[in-house]
């Protein structure tokens, strides 16, 4: 009852609770929040051993790998699902309050959250409970490929196959959609985080240099490329030399990054091919005619479209704003929630 009353003073939200970033879409306002899914927790000393939230989002991300013993900067989402239930709840609560900062009452919005299509019932329930714990009065879940397809403005309601690939932070999702439903979907835990990890491993293996997650991500964004024939770029990186423990700098080329990412990209291509194998022939023909739509942060990897086109033989379409495609899809589903009941997950 109280939640319903508070609901009058709340805006409905669509949340892309991603492993790397959390985006929030507010009805009639658009995307109002795009923050890293990172929480910094201070561990108080003393008999009570209290934990308190020190920072959330961008501020907390700056602390990643740079924290003293009393502070812990953690990413509560891992591989697209909740790794730390309590911290995820606190993070959501923080973000929900942040988008309702001018409100007198504690917000109690309706929320749509996207979940990986490969998530289990337990993982989905954890996300739902976490959102309810954060104060929402109603929670709808939507699968990421569906949200991505809606956000990309694909003709999902038509009797024609639409294939979408969402390369996120923790998971990559492949989905084939027709007539408003998912015909085939697959979630693989190869995405941005795995690419960063691959770059870290490559640099350590080749140069004996230890670099952090943030540096690996910067390398990926700046000179990372998916296509080996891309224009060669260079970047100077700094890390700790394993042999003597002294920080050193090293120049790395895009060709090297490409070879570091090769394994991850091959995994994604394999998932696409598996999806095409499992697709009914008529839908496969539609997809071959129209192409594969790529969304998510991974779509921003340089020349990923050329690599995918070469490997799959499909026309590759990168959406206009791949990072926000999923949350936009969630937002559109939120606005038409009453009429699009079929696209949500019913447990």
């Amino acid at each position: 009852m109280l939640k319903r009353f508070r609901g009058f003073f709340s805006s409905d939200l669509a949340i892309d609770l991603g492993t790397a970033n959390t985006l929030i879409f507010v009805r009639d306002k658009g995307i109002v929040l795009n923050e890293p899914s990172v929480v910094a927790i201070r561990q108080a000393h003393g008999p009570r051993n209290n934990r308190s939230i020190l920072a959330v989002g961008q501020e907390a991300k700056k602390m990643l790998g740079r924290t003293p013993g009393s502070i812990q900067a953690i990413r509560p989402m891992k591989d697209g699902v909740i790794a730390d239930f309590t911290v995820t709840g606190e993070m959501l609560k923080f973000f929900i309050r942040k988008v309702h900062e001018n409100r007198m009452f504690q917000p109690s919005p309706r929320i749509i959250i996207c979940v990986p299509c490969g998530s289990t019932q337990v993982e989905r329930r954890a996300i739902r409970e976490s959102a309810i714990g954060a104060g929402s009065r109603e929670v709808y879940l939507i699968e990421e490929p569906m949200a991505a397809a809606i956000g990309a403005d694909l003709p999902i309601m038509e009797p024609t196959g639409s294939m979408v690939l969402d390369i996120g932070g923790g998971t990559s999702e492949v989905g084939i959609i027709s007539l408003g439903g998912i015909v085939y979907s697959h979630s693989l835990r190869i995405a941005g985080d795995k690419m960063d990890e691959a770059i870290i491993n490559y640099v350590r293996r080749k140069y004996g240099l230890l670099i952090g997650d943030a540096t690996a991500e910067a390398i990926k964004k700046e000179i990372g490329t998916a296509w080996e024939d891309s224009e060669v770029r260079e970047m100077e990186i700094k890390g700790r030399y394993i042999a003597d423990g002294v920080p050193r700098s090293q120049v790395i080329t895009s060709k090297e990054v490409n070879s570091a990412l090769n394994e991850c990209l091959t995994g994604i291509v394999a998932a696409i091919k598996t999806a095409l194998e499992h697709t009914p022939p008529e839908l496969g023909a539609d997809i071959a005619e129209k192409g594969l739509v790529v969304t998510g942060g991974g779509a921003l990897l340089r020349d990923v479209d050329r690599w995918l086109a070469e490997q799959t033989g499909l026309p590759i379409i990168i959406t206009d704003d791949p990072m926000t495609c999923v949350v936009c899809g969630c937002g559109r589903a939120l606005m038409e929630a009453e009429r699009l009941g079929d696209v949500f997950i019913h447990e």
Binding site: I150, A152, D153, L154, P155, I156, M157, E158, T160, L179, G180, E289, K290, G291, V293, D305, A309, G313, L314, P315, I316, I317, I318, T319, D320, R332, E336, E338, R339, L340, G341, D342
Partner: protein
């Protein structure tokens, strides 16, 4: 300037075609490099976007094609975005189930109220119609039966209110008069009143309309004169005369001809005799040995039980009811010829 406006309206097709021809790249080769069909390439160059899948796909094709031809993908897509076809969103609700109308829907509420109102209105109309039509008949009956009250106690009788169901029921069972409160009152027999007195009964002999209902004065509170009731009932009991009084103020010619029917009951029988106006002149079981005289406006509608035990005399002439006999009963009409005459 005009040319550039026209170019922006027509889309990036011309620019793409020019770039391809400058590169001397055949359409087929361009299509192969982009994993597209030649039809798609030609559609883009002709700005025929209706034949392509949708805005999202078209933007992707344009971006790839521009990149291949060495053009700026952003500019090419921006040129396409200026076209009206690019801003047409996909209809997500094409297959969405039609929204079910719930009971909370305003239209539904109004519709329900409207239907309920119509039903109630019809019920009221039916009730009033059902109530009024017998009421009028009752009034007529009452007027016919109480000629002296029309003028005498008109102040209280004249309205519809004074004519109620109780008054009508009085003439049904014959011996029982029901009051408004549904308590049957047995009417004590009284000496028969001559027929002549019935139509000219003086007003002073009538009990007051507001007098309480007693056993001695079995007047119903409805305003039906108790004397008249007593007279009728006693007449039946004593085997005398039952009359149907003429309507006061009415044209005798229009009312019909008065007739007389005498029933000599030799065996127990029952009779239902009604006059031309369907007033019940006799409606009861008649024990053997009674002689009942009925007077009223012809024709009479007669329905007799155990017809063999009853002798009928109509206007002084014997009438053989056996020809109408069906089993033990007979149903016939008397006085039709008189009426026609």
């Amino acid at each position: 300037m005009e040319g550039s406006n026209q170019h922006s309206r027509s889309g990036p097709g011309g620019m793409l075609r020019k770039a391809r021809t400058d590169l001397r790249l055949p359409v087929e080769d361009a299509a192969k490099l982009l994993n597209l069909s030649a039809r798609h390439i030609l559609a883009m160059e002709n700005d025929d976007y209706a034949s392509l899948p949708g805005p999202t796909y078209v933007r992707g094709y344009l971006r790839s094609y521009a990149q291949l031809l060495g053009l700026s993908p952003e500019e090419t897509v921006a040129s396409y975005n200026k076209l009206p076809v690019a801003s047409k969103p996909v209809d997500l609700t094409a297959l969405a189930p039609k929204q079910e109308i719930s009971s909370n829907d305003r239209l539904m509420k109004m519709g329900t109220l409207l239907v309920a109102g119509v039903v109630i209105g019809l019920a009221v109309i039916w009730w009033q119609g059902d109530d009024k039509s017998p009421g009028r008949a009752d009034q007529e009956v009452a007027v016919a039966l109480t000629p002296s009250y029309q003028s005498g106690a008109g102040g209280t009788i004249g309205s519809d209110k004074t004519i109620d169901d109780a008054a009508v029921q009085e003439f049904g069972p014959g011996l029982i008069v029901e009051t408004d409160n549904k308590i049957p009152l047995l009417v004590e027999p009284e000496p028969a009143i001559p027929q002549e007195n019935t139509s000219t009964m003086p007003r002073k002999e009538q009990p007051p309309l507001t007098s309480p209902v007693t056993a001695e004065q079995p007047a119903v509170s409805s305003g039906i004169p108790s004397e008249d009731t007593e007279r009728r009932v006693s007449a039946v009991r004593d085997g005398d005369t039952v009359t149907s009084p003429p309507a006061t103020g009415a044209d005798p010619g229009a009312e019909g001809v008065r007739a007389r029917l005498v029933l000599t009951v030799e065996e127990d029988s029952w009779a239902d005799i009604r006059d031309a106006r369907h007033n019940k002149l006799l409606y009861e079981t008649v024990p053997a040995g009674r002689v009942v005289t009925v007077e009223g406006i012809a024709p009479f509608s007669v329905f007799l039980g155990n017809v063999e035990g009853v002798k009928i005399e109509f206007n002084g002439e014997y009438y053989d009811a056996a020809k109408h006999k069906r089993g033990q009963v007979a149903r016939f009409t008397l006085g039709e010829t008189i009426e026609t005459e």
